[in-house]
């Protein structure tokens, strides 16, 4: 399946884009996608532990299995206020 991945805040600069499409096999978890994205965009690597990941508008754990139609967002720690 092919899914859309969004980047926010300075992750857009680390990757050089606001969104990408990734083709992934069935059973792919968020952790697997994160590893693939860090390989594709090595500048995300140093942020690995602090990266927040959402599916749609909800945070999801690393073992969440990605489904057809999911939109994934990666971003750094939030800083509102």
């Amino acid at each position: 399946m092919t899914i859309k991945v969004h980047f926010y805040s300075y992750f857009k600069d680390l990757t050089g884009c606001a969104e990408v499409w990734e083709t992934i096999p069935g059973g792919f978890a968020i952790a697997d996608l994160h590893q693939r994205l860090m390989a594709r965009f090595p500048r995300l690597g140093p942020m690995q532990k602090s990266t927040l990941i959402a599916v749609g508008v909800e945070y999801q754990p690393r073992d969440y299995v990605i489904r057809e139609g999911d939109e994934i967002s990666l971003f750094p720690p939030v800083q509102g206020g």
Binding site: E58, F75, V78, G80
Partner: protein, 141 residues
């Protein structure tokens, strides 16, 4: 619990917001908070901040926080305005108001809302330092 949420590039107008206040006769406490842009960030002088949001997720996360507040305290209303875009030093970035029967629950709910916002709501800020032509996005190591 009535809710009003706005994540906006429009300036925060405190006079208008205070004029729109509405509370029933059972309410005894109104707590409101104004966050403003400080002139320093991590001991460095800055000229302003640029705020960015993942808007649909931010609205959803605020709604979840509001639902949790409603479970915990007998709040009559909550209003929250968060600015986006470029803000200068001393300009308001956040305005929050909680109306409740007693001050304890109003203070606690307001504190909870801001703490949770800073934990889960996807809004980010970038600093603008004197002499910089554009906002640096990647934090310095």
């Amino acid at each position: 619990m009535r809710r009003q949420l706005s994540i906006t590039t429009a300036p925060i107008n405190e006079t208008v917001l205070l004029g729109q206040r509405s509370l029933s006769s059972d309410m005894g406490a109104v707590v409101y908070f104004l966050g403003v842009v400080r002139g320093t960030e991590q001991n460095s002088i800055i000229t302003g901040l640029h705020y960015e949001a993942f808007q649909s997720m931010a609205e959803h996360q605020f709604e979840q926080i509001f639902q949790e507040m409603e479970k915990r305290w007998p709040i009559e209303s909550v209003r929250l305005i968060h600015r986006l875009g470029m803000l200068k030093v001393n300009e308001p970035s956040l305005w929050v108001e909680v109306v409740a029967p007693h001050r304890g629950e109003a203070f606690a709910a307001c504190q909870f809302l801001i703490d949770e916002m800073k934990r889960v709501v996807p809004i980010w800020k970038k600093t603008l330092k004197p002499g910089e032509g554009r906002v640096p996005r990647v934090p310095e190591a």
